[in-house]
């Protein structure tokens, strides 16, 4: 997303990110993340992302679970193979 912000008296519209100089050289990019929708259960297990509230979160969607009941095999919520 992007925000309309005011910095040192100047207005900046539709700002998606702010780049600041790193103390050791280079640039650090800070993102507006408010427009995202993913929760842990929507992202494959093991991958980290930032939620719309700025919380670093690990994905939890994992492999499907297989169960056998009598002669019936059932695969439930998850990926059939690793992502």
């Amino acid at each position: 997303m992007a925000q309309n912000i005011e910095l040192l008296g100047a207005t900046y519209n539709d700002v998606p990110a702010v780049d600041l100089p790193k103390s050791g050289g280079g640039t650090a990019r800070f993102m507006d993340v408010t427009d995202t929708t993913a929760a842990a259960s929507n992202v494959a297990s093991g991958y980290y992302f930032y939620t719309s509230s700025g919380v670093k979160t690990q994905g939890s969607a994992s492999l499907a679970t297989a169960t056998v009941s009598g002669t019936v095999l059932t695969l439930t919520n998850g990926f059939p193979v690793s992502v």
């Binding site: 925000q3 990110a17 650090a28 993102m31 993340v33 929507n42 992302f49």
Partner: protein, 133 residues
């Protein structure tokens, strides 16, 4: 994560986010986050339609969801694609009649080797095997 940044000559250590006043209401702020330590790197790691930031990039998920489905074994293979998320139970039907004694000897069905032999009869001293047609 957090960064060490320098603004107007002043160094700030371990800065995870930056808050800047909103134009519409200077008492409110927009918060910008350092996302450089996130590891999500492709839409194929997230369910279709969802979005998330990782390492300065916004990703949109591309993994499709597969609703519940029941599979009845037939004469050809039925495959669940590897690129989907099983959002509902995928049920592969079984049949208690799939046993060796119900399958003709010499025939194998789903790995079950048949043991059923056809009966023979003798008539006028000649032995004949009954066939199923």
């Amino acid at each position: 994560m957090a960064q060490n940044v320098t603004i107007n000559g002043v160094a700030y250590s371990n800065v995870p986010s930056v808050e800047i006043p909103l134009t519409s209401d200077l008492s409110q702020t927009a918060k910008f986050y350092d996302t450089s330590d996130a590891t999500l790197s492709a839409g194929g790691q997230m369910l279709n339609g969802y979005t998330a930031y990782s390492n300065g990039t916004k990703y949109t998920g591309s993994i499709t969801s597969k609703a519940a489905e029941t599979y009845t074994p037939t004469t050809s293979d039925q495959t669940i694609s590897s690129g989907v998320y099983l959002s509902g139970a995928q049920t592969v039907k079984g049949d208690a009649n799939l046993v060796a004694s119900n399958i003709l000897s010499g025939v194998s069905i789903f790995g079950v080797a048949g043991s059923l032999t056809l009966p023979t009869i003798s008539q006028d001293g000649v032995t004949k095997v009954l066939s199923i047609s």
